[in-house]
């Protein structure tokens, strides 16, 4: 559909895009600026697009009211472990399903793929019971093991398999003729070629873990063990009402670093997801 537009059409198009951008940009703007306002100015009318009396009190309160640094670390390390673990599991099995011939391959692939139909919300009750029996409630194990080995990694495996199928086989055959074993062929030849797919899988796995909410509130009960999404909802006053500026400061601290990484690497994010991710 890319045809040359008249200057008038271009102007209209820019106008439409700018209006459409408001609900995408304004919330982030409002979050950051409101977190810098004193409580009295939060709901001031007319709305202050820039804080009239900027201050950092809310940011200080974030760390006083919750072990927020610890919670930040929890979310970060869980998401990183889940990402690395998912990459390992899904690259290995995706490679095997795409490249190695073994008995029962197709049936086993369908068995694994069936996991896509069973979201973790369906199995949350028995998962809670299983981890309870193992004495792993109020630990990070369920938040690490289930995403790496359970349903969430199935999509990653599917993407890796589609990618490995599309790789030309000659390079691997050359490596095999040179006497490399299966694992060495996978590690030294196939894996370095699959960077785009690994990148796409890494991005959506990290975000998935980073966003988890139901699982943490089901499995965790000690504030020191909370993850960020869970911690964000804990900034409430004695009556259960939200302390808006503190919540927004915590939300800003949660959202801004990822946003900055995204803006720097937006090409890899967007094109990686679009082209490797879900094409097949």
């Amino acid at each position: 559909m890319s045809r040359n537009l008249s200057p008038r059409a271009k102007l209209v198009l820019y106008g439409v895009l700018l209006v459409l951008a408001i609900p995408f940009v304004f919330p982030t703007w409002w979050m950051v600026t409101s977190s810098l306002k004193p409580v009295a100015d939060i709901f001031a009318f007319p709305p202050q697009l820039l804080p009239a009396h900027p201050q950092l009190d809310a940011y200080q309160r974030v760390f006083e009211l919750q072990p927020f640094g610890r919670q930040y670390l929890n979310s970060l390390y869980i998401a990183l472990v889940v990402t690395v673990g998912t990459l390992a599991v899904s690259a290995l099995s995706g490679y095997a399903f795409a490249r190695i011939r073994f008995r029962g391959q197709n049936v086993l692939f369908l068995v694994v793929l069936a996991g896509l139909l069973i979201p973790s919300e369906v199995t949350i009750v028995p998962l809670f019971q299983m981890f309870f029996k193992l004495g792993l409630i109020d630990t990070h194990w369920p938040l690490i093991l289930v995403p790496i080995l359970g349903a969430p990694s199935v999509l990653a495996t599917f993407i890796m398999r589609q990618f490995f199928i599309s790789l030309p086989g000659e390079l691997e055959e050359a490596a095999r003729v040179d006497g490399l074993g299966r694992f060495a062929t996978f590690w030294k030849v196939a894996l370095p070629l699959s960077r785009p797919a690994l990148g796409a899988v890494a991005i959506f796995t990290f975000l998935h873990s980073w966003n988890l909410y139901l699982e943490p509130i089901v499995f965790l009960s000690t504030p020191e063990k909370f993850t960020l999404p869970q911690a964000l909802t804990q900034f409430v006053d004695a009556y259960g009402g939200p302390m808006w500026n503190v919540q927004l400061a915590a939300a800003s601290l949660t959202a801004l670093p990822v946003l900055v990484v995204f803006v720097i690497a937006q090409k890899q994010f967007v094109e990686g997801l679009a082209h490797t991710g879900l094409k097949g």
């Binding site: 982030t28 709305p47 289930v146």
Partner: protein, 316 residues
Amino acid sequence: MSQTDIRVGGAQAPPTAARPPRPWWTSRRRDQLAGYLFIAPQLIGSLLFVFLPLVLVVWYSLHEWNVLAGTFDFVGPDNYSALADDPNLGSMLRATGLFSVGLVVFNLALALLLAVLLNQRLRGTIVFRTIFFSPVVVSLVAWTIVWGFLLQDNGGVNGLLDTIGVDGPNWLRGEGTAMFSVIIVQVFKNVGLNMVLFLAALQGVPAELYEAAEVDGASRMRQFWRITVPLISPTILLTSIITVVGSLQVFAQIAVLTQGGPGTSTTVLVYYLYQQAFQFHHFGYGATLSILLFGIVLALTVLQWQMRKRWVFHES
């Protein structure tokens, strides 16, 4: 699996014994073993964390199980008849359906609109693409909290509306507006993902088709419905499947924005499941609701698969 292999190997041994012995441990067998070892973590993980819990959830659903009271009694189909008689069933299914349909319609329509706009020959589309995609990387709860703040009666949205002379409603507390608000918040959060998939699909539509249509005097609208939509229909199906299945899993947005209210107007299935199992400790009934969720996901997937055969345009 490897057990089967050894047995098969053993069975083949006698006939070959007469001939010069061939090594049993061939490179083909080695490769097979590598295959099983490569998929072992995923397969064992699926059995432990997907299929075992699925069997257990069926088993639990046949029990009256209250964690606090310490009861675990086999009651057969009682939970299912309790579900059929649950006075909340109607409103819960209605809320779930409304959310899913609303999300799919608004999300796909906006995603397609944005993709078409960004597919024009225009400077700065990358900037807008980055803007529209950015909420995807913002933590879901952070995004929801900010919108909860914006949608307060005296919040930013009504503040903005007021400056143009519109008196906005109390979005999250009104029966009619609460569900709409939850849907819209989720649309803006994730529409960028579908937009990017649509954009990739649009770029794959050959320009000659439009040129030919232009020569035939077809209007832009007609070109869109007759060329663009059929050619990107596989992507429309894919995004609709992802969006529908994702919409059934909605939880954090409800928990943060409305807690299922006002009344039960935004109590969707997963939120109700969470309340029953983890707030009221009715694990048996929670398991029954899980089965209902599984049934809906399964039915929708089969349905969409059927639609694929009928509607989606195939190149070959």
